[in-house]
């Protein structure tokens, strides 16, 4: 039993599988971006090579704060891997591991951002501190509409269990086909863009302004882990979106097609927008997306 759990967590559908799919999704991101920008783009194994290269580089730690500095990336990757294995198992068995796993997933999806905040704070770099303050504002900005958009699903499906949500949609068709579900999908999609730290919501890492902000002091293995976390999220978050809003059909091919479509949509948004200033981003989340999500919740109550 223990080894089975370990296998789930480490190999499939956990760490190894999520990393490989995530790195490949990252390649799709780079390739599609490159084609949009009239460039050639890297070969498919580029992300693997990049990560492996970082493994071999020197690890520089800030004196006296090495533990927090090195612990933070681990926190991020562990939580994102747990989410990946949760979602994979739910899709495989169509039954939840325990009650209210949706709440756990919501929590765990916030942890990568928190780990970035903790790690960057430990580096005590002025640019990193600006990045941290932006990241905190960004988390405050996108969590509210994100959770509201999930509330739509909870109301519709009447359950906090991922498996119930999937089963509800298998019976009644994808939630995104209803009015409230469509609104929820749009809101959650934009929040995911921010969770991934992609343009237009990449102010915490703006390399043109604060030189990668939160990540500025990281090098070698910890940097590789942060990057890997981002790649695992690039696999997990679209999958989460599919489970929540689009799981009317969970055959492998349709899952793959939906995943690619969401991925390409993310990449298109990323490549057709400039970066929003942090105040503009928060205004967008609170003044546009939150009312929209509230509207979705009201519609869900009305049964639309």
């Amino acid at each position: 039993m223990f080894f089975k759990q370990l296998f789930y967590y480490l190999i499939f559908p956990g760490f190894l599988f999520a990393s490989v799919v995530g790195l490949l999704a990252g390649w799709v991101d780079r390739k599609v971006s490159a084609r949009i920008q009239y460039r050639v783009g890297p070969p498919w194994y580029q992300n693997f090579v990049d990560i492996i290269k970082l493994f071999g580089k020197e690890i520089i730690t800030p004196p006296g704060r090495a533990f927090t500095f090195l612990f933070a990336p681990l926190m991020g990757i562990v939580s994102s891997t747990i989410v990946a294995s949760f979602l994979g198992l739910v899709l495989l068995n169509s039954q939840s591991i325990f009650f209210a796993d949706l709440i756990i997933v919501i929590y765990l999806l916030t942890v990568p951002a928190i780990s970035l905040i903790i790690g960057a704070s430990a580096s005590a770099n002025p640019l990193a501190s600006i990045g941290v303050s932006r990241e905190i504002k960004m988390v405050l900005g996108y969590e509210l509409p994100f959770i509201l958009s999930l509330a739509i699903v909870i109301i519709k499906a009447g359950s906090l269990r991922l498996a119930d949500i999937i089963n509800y949609q298998l019976l009644n068709g994808s939630l995104a086909l209803s009015w409230s579900g469509a609104i929820g999908l749009i809101v959650a999609f934009l929040c995911i863009q921010a969770k991934l730290g992609f343009v237009p919501f990449d102010a915490p890492e703006a390399d043109q302004e604060i030189m990668c902000g939160t990540l500025i002091e990281y090098s070698g293995l910890p940097l590789a882990i942060f990057r890997l976390t981002r790649f695992i999220l690039l696999y997990t978050l679209p999958l989460f979106l599919i489970i929540i809003f689009l799981s009317g059909d969970i055959k492998l091919t349709s899952l793959g097609i939906k995943f690619l479509l969401i991925l390409v949509a993310i990449i298109l948004v990323k490549n057709t927008n400039p970066r929003l200033r942090i105040d503009q981003a928060i205004r967008f989340f609170w003044k546009i997306l939150t009312p929209l999500a509230v509207l979705g919740v009201i519609l869900a109550f009305l049964g639309k």
Binding site: I130, T272, R277
Partner: protein
């Protein structure tokens, strides 16, 4: 938060790969003050120019800047011709103008791309640079080089534009019109770009006049100056075109000025191609006289100024250069303050700064007790550190 934090941009700019140093004093995200430190790129070009004869100086000043690599030699040959009162053949004038306006096209497209990159819009960056390629190809066809064209010569131009090249030039610049329409439309219609550029880094008309800012930076604030019209050189007086100005003085206005100026450049090139008659391209200057001369050229970034003093020998006794960025970079002192760090990145870039053009000499006024190190001090510091490390290893 009233705690002041210093955010360094430089000494190597994260984007422009040029050495300069902006010290932003920030409270939270807000920029409250800025120190501008330049002088990392002094190459002693004026001194070098005084050691070379006039034909060599043309090549030397071409290498002041990679982007306005026709404006500097253009201003230099104008200065020498002003000294000698040379009558330059008409065809040479038109060729110079074509090269200079093509250079404006490529420089503005380059800036447009960089501006996109500054606000994190990499697609604009790549697209603008993609459409800049045909212009560089034209240069290669005309002069054999994508940059550093070596077209200018005292008394004329070094090589003719071949008649068989003319249709290609016309075709390529015609192709640029829909591209410019696309960029203009994209920038005026996109609400997100507007949100990032409108009202950011505002320079008022008075501030522009105070700082003596030049070129698109000044024209975006409603200051109607352009050397090409105010003191026409070459054949600009025989061509119909207009000076583009905008009122707002923000980054958006600066972008629009540059985009609209590209239309004017295309317009000028078209007229030059029609008006250019067959004829000599060189006045064959042989003798030099003592005296002084100045040359002023409207470079893509503003007025480029060259002064020459001659004693009748084949070398200038004094050669003074003033590039437009020297005046424009200083305006960041007012345009950045009050904005956020995000705005600072694009505002600093909006004057299209060119540090290698700017840097003639640096005077360091010592007001604090911090030690100012020169090159030798830094080398000594490095050597000391190496020694310390060696000692550690030996133990």
């Amino acid at each position: 938060m009233s705690h002041k934090v210093i955010i360094p941009i430089g000494p190597y700019h994260p984007l422009q790969e040029e050495p300069e140093f902006f010290r932003l004093y920030v409270e939270g995200e807000k920029v409250v003050d800025i120190d501008i430190v330049i002088g990392y790129n002094h190459r002693g070009i004026e001194e070098l120019a005084e050691d070379k004869h006039y034909d060599q100086v043309t090549f030397l000043v071409e290498r002041i800047c990679g982007i306005c690599s026709s404006s500097h030699p253009f201003a230099f040959v104008l200065a020498v011709e002003d000294l000698l009162k040379t009558q330059v053949p008409e065809r040479a004038h038109y060729i110079r103008m074509i090269v200079d306006e093509l250079q404006r096209l490529h420089s503005h497209l380059l800036w447009l791309g960089l501006a996109g990159h500054f606000i994190g819009y990499n697609t604009v960056w790549m697209w603008a640079w993609r459409y800049r390629e045909p212009v560089l190809d034209l240069f290669e066809q005309i002069s054999g080089n994508r940059n550093n064209y070596a077209m200018m010569k005292v008394g004329g131009v070094r090589r003719d534009i071949k008649p068989e090249d003319l249709p290609t030039i016309k075709k390529q610049i015609d192709k640029l019109i829909p591209v410019l329409d696309m960029f203009k439309g994209a920038i005026t219609d996109d609400p997100v770009i507007k949100a990032r550029l409108k009202g950011v880094g505002v320079l008022t008309r008075e501030q522009v006049l105070d700082f003596g800012a030049l070129g698109p930076t000044a024209r975006a604030s409603g200051v109607d100056i352009d050397v090409r019209r105010d003191e026409p050189y070459a054949m600009y007086s025989s061509i119909k075109w207009s000076v583009i100005t905008q009122k707002d003085g923000d980054v958006f206005a600066k972008t629009m000025v540059r985009i609209l100026e590209m239309y004017e450049s295309i317009n000028i090139i078209r007229q030059c191609l029609v008006k250019m008659k067959k004829g000599p391209i060189d006045a064959n200057v042989t003798d030099l006289i003592p005296g002084e001369g100045i040359g002023r050229v409207e470079a893509p970034r503003g007025e480029c100024f060259h002064y020459i003093k001659s004693d009748g020998t084949n070398r200038p006794v004094r050669h003074k250069i003033r590039a437009p960025s020297f005046m424009n970079v200083a305006t960041n002192k007012v345009s950045c303050v009050g904005g956020t760090i995000s705005d600072a990145a694009i505002t600093l870039g909006a004057v299209d700064p060119c540090y290698c053009c700017t840097e003639r000499t640096a005077v360091i006024a010592k007001t604090t007790n911090t030690k100012i190190m020169n090159g030798w001090d830094l080398i000594k510091l490095c050597q000391e550190k190496t020694h310390k490390l060696l000692h550690k290893l030996e133990k």
